[in-house]
Symmetry: D2
Subunit: 254 residues, 4 copies
Amino acid sequence: MTARIDFNCDMGESFGAYKMGQDEEIIKYITSANVACGFHAGDPNWMRRTVKLAEENGVALGAHASFPDLSGFGRRNMAVAPDEAKNDIIYQMGALTAFTSAKKLQHVKPHGAMYNMAVRDEALARAICEAILEVDPGIILVALTGTQWVELARDMGLRVAREAFADRAVNADGTLVPRSKPGSVIEEVDEVARRSIKMVTEGKVTAITGEEISLAADTLCLHSDTPNSIHLASYIRSALEAEGVQIVPVGQIV
Amino acid sequence: MTARIDFNCDMGESFGAYKMGQDEEIIKYITSANVACGFHAGDPNWMRRTVKLAEENGVALGAHASFPDLSGFGRRNMAVAPDEAKNDIIYQMGALTAFTSAKKLQHVKPHGAMYNMAVRDEALARAICEAILEVDPGIILVALTGTQWVELARDMGLRVAREAFADRAVNADGTLVPRSKPGSVIEEVDEVARRSIKMVTEGKVTAITGEEISLAADTLCLHSDTPNSIHLASYIRSALEAEGVQIVPVGQIV
Amino acid sequence: MTARIDFNCDMGESFGAYKMGQDEEIIKYITSANVACGFHAGDPNWMRRTVKLAEENGVALGAHASFPDLSGFGRRNMAVAPDEAKNDIIYQMGALTAFTSAKKLQHVKPHGAMYNMAVRDEALARAICEAILEVDPGIILVALTGTQWVELARDMGLRVAREAFADRAVNADGTLVPRSKPGSVIEEVDEVARRSIKMVTEGKVTAITGEEISLAADTLCLHSDTPNSIHLASYIRSALEAEGVQIVPVGQIV
Amino acid sequence: MTARIDFNCDMGESFGAYKMGQDEEIIKYITSANVACGFHAGDPNWMRRTVKLAEENGVALGAHASFPDLSGFGRRNMAVAPDEAKNDIIYQMGALTAFTSAKKLQHVKPHGAMYNMAVRDEALARAICEAILEVDPGIILVALTGTQWVELARDMGLRVAREAFADRAVNADGTLVPRSKPGSVIEEVDEVARRSIKMVTEGKVTAITGEEISLAADTLCLHSDTPNSIHLASYIRSALEAEGVQIVPVGQIV
C-alpha cells in the first residue's frame, strides 16, 4: 500500500486591513486549509478570499475554530465552559460552510489555546467532538497524535486525523517539547524532511532523548508565517514524493 | 382561497449576560423567527437557545442579518461596501444554519439600518439578494412591501416575502410614516387588529392622509420588546383567525 | 474613634441597547461606584451617564477593570500575561478618568475573573498594583480582605481598601465559601445586617464552621442586580448608622 | 520670523498579533504622533509601545480617535450620533492619556471616516470640539485646513492646527482632489518637497487647475505605510530645513 499523508496549514488569518501569512504561496504545497473564522483572526471578506483560493487550488477546507479572543489571537487559555465552546465552534463551522461551494467542510481543527487545552481537558475535548457530530458526523477532527483526545473522539464515533509536527521535537512519551525549551523547534530543513519521511513511512520518530518511538500521523502541520516556511513546505513535499508518498487531503486518508 | 399570513418577530437579541425581549412568550403567537446572529445582538449560546425554542414551537427560522455594530445594536447606517455586506450576511446565515436541526433556513431579514438602507440603496439591496442566492436560492427574503427592493429581488429570481407593519401608519405612497412624526405608531389594539385584517383579506390599508391604498403583505412584523407587545400579538392573531385567516410560516405562502 | 465603612457597588454595566442593574436606585445608598469600562460591560455612553449619576449623588468613582471578555461578562479566567493585564487596566482607568469632572479616580477594583485570579496569582496581583502606581499612586486598590494580594499592594506602597462581602459565608481561614456550596450566600436580611455591624465595629465575623474570626473591612460590596438588593442596601445602611457607624467613601478611610 | 511646521503621522496602528506601519523608522522624521486608541486599530499593548517610542524620540502625542469599526479600520462612514461620537472620543483620549508620562495629550486628530465626515457635518465637527474642551481645553485639534470645521473650532475657543497634505492635489477651492481621480496623489518626491516648501514659507499651493491659491498649514501629514514613505519623509524634512524652516511639534506653533 502506498503511504499517504495530508499537509495542513492555518490560513485566512488576515483581518480587515491587516495582512498575515503567505496564503497565495503556501497553498501550492498543502492539501488541507484550516481557515480562521473570525474569533481569533479572519473576517467574512478574508474567509471568502481564502475559500476561493483553496478551492481553485484543490485544497480541502476546514474550520480553524477558536475561543473568542481577537486581541490575543486565540492564544490565551480561557475558562470557556464546554457548552459555550461547543456553541462557539458550531457557529464558526457554519459561518465557514456558507462560503464553500460544496456547503460542506472536510475538517475542524481547533486553534491555539483551544487546541492545547483540549489535549488535557476532557470536557473541552468532548465538547469539540459534540460540535462536529451535531453539525455533520462526516466532518473530520484534526487532533494531536498520541493523545487521549484522539481516543475519545474515536470512541464518540468521529473520523479523526492524527496531527504531527515535523519541525517540533517530541519527548519520549510523544508529547511536544515546549517551545520554551532549547531544541524544541527543528530549524534544519534536511532534518525536518528526514523526520517527516520516517513519520509517514515508518510511523516512527526519534525523541529528544534519543529513543525511537512510535508516532502515527495522518496529517502534518505546515506554517506560512516565517520567511523560510514556503521553502520548507516545498522541500518536505518533494522529499516525501521522492519516497513515493502521496500528499492528499486528509478526507482521503481517514 | 383561504387568506394566509405569516407573523414574524425579531428574536434571540440577548447577548451574554444581557437579556432582551420576551422570546418565551411571543414565540407562542408567531410563525417565523428572525434570529440575531452576533453582529448587532445574539451570540452562539443565545442562538442555540433561540433555535431550540423556535423548533419546539414549530416556528420557522431565519437570519436577522446586520451590519457589524454591536455597540449600536445595528441601528446606525454604515457605509459598508456591497461586497462586504454580502459577505457579512453569508457569514451570519451560515452561523445560524449550523444550529438548526434541518441545517436549513426559511428566510433572511436584514436588521435595522441594513433593512432601512436597502429600501433606498440598490447596490446594497442587490448584495443582500446575492448573498441569499449564493447560500441557498430556496431561502426567502423578507423585504418591505411596496419597494423597488421587492421588485429587484424577484427579478433576480428570489422568493420574496413582502413585509408590512400593522402598527405603523403609512403615507399615501405606501411608505412608512417616520417614527419622529406624530401618529406614526398606532397604539390602539383594536385599530391595529382592524388594519391587519384589512391588509390580509383585502390587500388594503388606510393611509395617514385618509385614502385607502393597496398594500400587499405576506408577513406581518410583531414585536416582543414592549409590555403590551405580547397582548397585541395574541389579540391580532385571534382577530385574524376569527376572520378565517390562517397564520402560517411564510415558506408556505410565497 | 467613630467606626467608618464604605459601601461599594458595581455600576454602569449596561451596554448599548442593553440595560443592566438598578443604578438609579442603588446610588442612593452607596459611597463608591465601580464603573464598568467597556471590557466586560459598559461603553462610552453608559460611562458618561454613570459618572454623572455618581457625581450628582456625591458617590466616589473607581474603575471596574476587566479582562477583555464582553461575551463572557469578564467572568471567565483568561491567561492574560501580567504585562498585558497591566496595559488593559491602564487603558480602562484612563478611559474612565476622562469622563470625571475631577479627571481623577478614587479607586480601582478588578472585576470578576481578574479579581478572583489576583487573589491567588501573585504576578497578576503585582501587575494590577503596577498599573495603579503608573497612572496615579494616590488611587486606592480595592482587594479582598485577608489575602496576600492586600499585603503585596501595601508593600508596593499602594493605598488599599480591604473588601468584605456581608452576604457571603466565609471559611475559618477567612476565604469566601464558593457559591457552589450550600449556605454560601446569606439571604436573610437581618443576618446580613448583623454580620455587617460585627465586621465594621468589631472587625470580626462568624465563619461557616461556627468560629468567630478576625476580618478587617474598609469597604462592603453591595449589589444592585437582584430584586431584593436595593432593600438590602437600605436596610444595612440604616442598621449601621443606627450603631453610629459613618458610611463614607473609602478615600476618607484608607 | 522663522517659518515653522509640524510633521504628523498616524502611528500605533498594529493590533494584537498584527503589525502595521514602520513606526520605528518614521518616528525619526516627525514631530507629532497620532496614536490609534483601539477603535479602528491599536490596543493597550501597542499603545504603551507607541507612547514609549514617541517619548524617547521627543515626538508629541495625540489621540487618533475613530468610530468603533475595527473590521473596517475606521474608514467606513457611520451614522454615529454626535453625542455618541463625543463620548467615543473622550474615551479614547482618556485611554491614551493614561499611558503618557505627562498624563497629557498635545492634540487630537480624528481618524479616517470621522475626519472626512467632520469636514462636512457640522454637528459631528462640533461634537469633536466639545470632547476636547471637556477633557482639556489646552489640547489642540488637528483639522483639515480651509474648512468650516477649522472656523467652528476657533469660534468654540479651541487651539486648532490646520493640516495639509503635501502629496495630495487640491482643487481651486482648496479641497482635496478625491483619490479616485487621476493626479490626486503626487508621487514625485521633488514635487512633494517643492509643494511643502511653498505651503510652509508662502502659505500657497498650486491647484490642479494651475492656479496658485492660498493654503495655510500648521502641520503636514506624513505616512509610514508605503515602501517609499520613509524616504519621502526624510527628503521633505531635509528640503524644508535647507530653506530654514523649523520642524517642531504643533504645540509650539498654534
